[in-house]
Symmetry: C2
Subunit: 241 residues, 2 copies
């Protein structure tokens, strides 16, 4: 299914509705991407005002989810779509749930950022959070791109990148435990960094979920709960529905 597919309905109105839903998902995704970028940069720079802006803006993400959910329910009821249109709506309902939860995780990073402003800054300027933040944001960007272009290959790449992020996250956890043991005065700070790292790792998981919905949408195959190798195979398999 490609973008051109969206033009296939006799009802111009229905086409416009589907296009509108797609665009609103991408707009919500863009806002969430910005929230991640702002949260990470606020934490790294110790910018209290930016932390607070991210926390306040989470209601905008939530409002977009509720409104989109409603639009999907209305479209389902009014248009009773079948086949690939139906899959699109189901995938959108799932995608926006993940986007909303990514928003919650960005908010959590900002809250940790607020805590950390009260503590001594680490010598490495939160290098681990900066790095995980770039990965998390790129993964979300990749997933949204895959959704916008119905690109299965791009969706698989998001899942591949998740493996890297998980390894990096495990490394950060081990490092923080070492810091805490070496210097118990660093416990509070290390814990806040751990929670922020954990939130960024979770964002990677949600981005991966979104990529999986794209594969479901294009291939009609549910690729959750299977190994990465299996997913790559399923995604490349030319058979579809």
């Amino acid at each position: 299914m490609d973008k051109a597919h969206l033009g296939h309905h006799i009802s111009q109105q229905f086409n416009a509705e589907l296009e509108d839903i797609r665009n609103r998902v991408l707009a919500m995704g863009g806002l969430v991407e910005q929230q991640i970028a702002d949260a990470v940069s606020a934490l790294v720079q110790g910018d209290i005002e930016l932390c607070e802006t991210v926390i306040t803006n989470d209601y905008r993400v939530n409002a977009m989810e509720v409104a989109l959910d409603e639009e999907c329910a209305h479209t389902l009821a009014r248009r009773q779509p079948a086949a690939s249109d139906l899959r699109l709506i189901v995938a959108v309902v799932k995608t926006i749930t993940d986007l909303e939860r990514i928003g919650d995780q960005a908010e959590k990073v900002a809250r940790m950022g607020l805590h950390l402003t009260a503590m001594e800054r680490p010598k490495n300027h939160y290098l681990e959070i900066q790095s995980l933040g770039v990965h998390a944001r790129d993964m979300l960007h990749g997933a949204l791109d895959a959704f916008a272009r119905m690109d299965v290959e791009a969706a698989v790449q998001v899942a591949q990148r998740d493996v890297t992020v998980d390894h990096e996250y495990e490394g950060v956890m081990r490092q923080m435990i070492t810091f805490m043991m070496e210097d118990p005065r660093s416990i509070a700070r290390s814990l806040d960094i751990m929670w922020a790292a954990r939130a960024l790792e979770r964002i990677g998981d949600h981005a991966r979920n979104i990529g999986e919905y794209v594969i479901y949408l294009v291939k009609g195959k549910d690729v959750r709960h299977i190994s990465l190798e299996q997913m790559e195979k399923e995604a490349r398999d030319s058979g579809g529905v």
Copy 2:
């Protein structure tokens, strides 16, 4: 909408399908409840075999989610349900996503249980995990009950209980930080307890989500992202759709 409502279709086959979906959601919920109970008991008793059973059984939860998701998509496509039937299917699709994630959290508790068997047992026999475990399981039970009986009042009670669980969880976090600072040798153990507590607190959040879908189902109102007081008001409001 009450259970009797399920019998209103002229098509006996459609009635049977909706009833089957409902029953399978409850069966999946029952399995997930058991996973929570087993994970907590395995951690508390240091039962390696039971920890491993919980971890292995998570695939059963995942398989039930995938199968139910497919059945919902088929029903949407074949029956093109409207109004309350449509809301039921949408609520089911969301509910099973939360059930699957509760399953993941139970698995995480079991993994922490495995780690902890290698460490000295705390004097309080993991009292905080036992207590959070009871809350988490009761909340899920309440949410499934609310779903089974389409009981808005029971759904509100789940949300009310979530507030208690969040407070208790915060207390556990503070206590663990104190332990770590007092005795750096306890850091690894305290962290594992923190992650297990965090997983149980997350289960409470997911149970609350399921309660919110029940309110959406019965009242046709989206009660996410609003205060508990507002939710209580909306739920008690006699107006519906």
